[in-house]
Amino acid sequence: MLCNRTSLRDLASTIRSKNAGVDHITFDLIFKDRTAFERVRDSGVISPESISALYHIPRERITDFVVFEPANAIKFTIRRSRPSGSPGESDVFGSQHYAPLFEVEVP
């Protein structure tokens, strides 16, 4: 491979989003191994500030940010703009909001 840039897509085994109750969407980044997990955790590319910038949302809408070591995982939760399934909503399960994380570059 000529490409020498590494992104979350390369290091994570699971990148997913899903409802956490009716008012939130939660995101799970689960890494292939301890090394990949520590590399991303220590790089700081995933932080409340970087997520706020990536999704163009104010910092207050990120209600939870957790480094979950038993699963080699980083997890964060965003408050929805309206409850899931309300008229105007487009992702009832919140299950397709993770895609922008794929291309986040990791040094």
Partner: protein, 462 residues
């Protein structure tokens, strides 16, 4: 004391039919109890608000039948919670009727069925409010008031393990529960076996979605839990799945804001110091949960209310100039709608243009909507109190894209493709009005248990 064994075939009974192969393999282990949850908020507010169901009855019956026949053959209890997707009284009665039908179709010997209802009326909550009892908003919501309750059509309260455990102690062999915390269904028999609430609720938390806590990813396959005090062992029953420390820990964070805490009516499960270890190739073990009893028991309330009638239209756009100027075209369409029907907020209507191909999936959270997509698929969603007006607004909202007024448009015979010049009738729009908690006297106060003798042979003879 020997470990208690629990067989769980599905994380949402009836949502799709569960796989019988791994379930029957699980029955060979002679589990002490068979448990499945049947509800979810993920399906949106419509099923609760309209008191409808999200799963086809044939699939619900498929799952209930496999569980009931196995449970009666093994002579062990069967527990199903959040009956028929929402856990309303309708759902409990529907599942109880299915249990009776299955029993008579198979001529099953008599058994005791317990139903536990959890639906609450808006009137009851209004009386609580009037008596000065707070109904506190969760997740940043405001506390409930009369206005919010007036907008709420249907409410369920979420039980913990206590009413289910009590029904089992009184001899229930099949329990059909209304809305319940998923983990509570598993915790109930474990509490009765003398295990701590920490072990009981943590085991439930790990097992509630069946094969989702194993790898590789497979839905609707059975798992077996062997649970002793502070020692929870999970084994998948599909031969190609494994339960590993990573898969089990990964599941502990699934569908929840925070992987460290789980709240139920009687307290909070603290999972900050939980440990996940391999037992063998296919079995993982979890331990280390702590249960903190609530000083004041708080019941969670879920409620949904109708917003209005919904109509939908599908419109496609291929002209690159119109695509580039779609915001201007929509603004013009909205202005014409307001002229005719009044300002949306005051007149009580709303139009949502879902722009698939640009940001139809993520809406305002989309970080990189393409400026020049090849084509746009637009779903025009309209909501209004009155169905005839919703239809008229939807037709105009869609056709105004066909007649979009843009200064340099060349396609003067139509600026949009109508997939069909047709307005689709959507289910009414509902919203989650209640995601709240309310103090209760104890874990039993809001829940209503009834016992029924089901005799499949007598019913068949009759």
């Amino acid at each position: 004391m020997d470990a208690v064994t629990i067989l769980c075939p599905t994380g949402h009974l009836g949502f799709t039919p569960f796989e019988k192969g791994s379930f029957l393999a699980g029955c060979e282990h002679k589990p002490d109890v068979i448990v499945a949850d049947s509800g979810s908020c993920d399906i949106g507010p419509y099923p609760l608000g309209a008191d409808s169901q999200a799963s086809p009855p044939a699939w619900q019956k498929h799952d209930l039948e496999a569980m009931l026949l196995a449970a009666r053959r093994l002579g062990v209890p069967m527990i199903v919670g959040s009956a028929s997707d929402t856990g309303t009284d309708r759902g409990v009665e529907q599942f109880a009727a299915m249990i009776r039908d299955i029993a008579s179709e198979h001529g099953l010997a008599s058994f005791r069925l317990a139903t536990i209802k959890s639906e609450q009326t808006p009137q009851f909550l209004l009386e609580r409010l009037a008596a000065g009892m707070p109904i506190k908003g969760l997740d940043g919501r405001a506390d409930a008031d009369e206005v919010l309750l007036a907008r709420t059509d249907r409410i369920v309260a979420v039980m913990d393990a206590e009413p289910i455990a009590a029904a089992l102690r009184e001899g229930a062999e099949v329990v059909i529960a209304g809305r319940a915390s998923d983990c509570a269904l598993f915790a109930a028999p474990l509490l009765n076996a003398g295990l701590s609430p920490a072990t009981a609720y943590f085991a439930g938390k790990l097992m509630e979605c069946a094969s989702f806590c194993c790898e590789p990813f497979m839905g609707k396959e059975s798992i077996l839990g062997r649970i002793a005090e502070d020692d929870i062992r999970i084994t998948p029953l599909h031969p190609r799945q494994r339960c590993t420390p990573a898969s089990l820990a990964g599941h502990a964070m699934y569908e929840r804001r925070n992987p460290f805490y789980e709240h139920v009516l009687s307290g909070t499960l603290d999972m900050r110091n939980c440990r996940y270890e391999a037992v063998d190739e296919r079995t993982a073990r979890a331990s280390g949960a702590v249960f903190i009893p609530a000083a004041q028991p708080m019941v969670k309330l879920e409620g949904a209310g109708k917003v209005g009638e919904r109509r939908l239209a599908v419109v496609g756009i291929r002209d690159p100039y119109v695509i580039e100027n779609i915001e201007a075209a929509i603004a013009w369409a909205r202005a014409r709608l307001s002229e005719r029907f009044g300002a949306p907020d005051q007149a009580g209507w709303a139009v949502h243009y879902h722009l698939f191909g640009r940001n139809g999936v993520m809406s305002e959270l989309e970080p990189s909507p393409p400026a020049h997509p090849h084509e746009l698929g637009i779903v025009v969603e309209t909501v209004c109190r009155d169905a005839a007006t919703a239809e008229e607004i939807c037709a105009l909202a869609a056709r105004n894209l066909f007649y979009a007024r843009l200064p340099e448009v060349k396609g003067t015979a139509g600026t949009a493709a109508l997939m069909a010049d047709e307005i689709l009738i959507g289910k009414p729009g509902y919203e989650w009005t209640l995601n709240h908690v309310m103090p209760v006297r104890d874990a039993f106060e809001l829940f209503r248990t009834e016992f029924h003798l089901v005799d499949g042979r007598a019913r068949r003879a009759a």
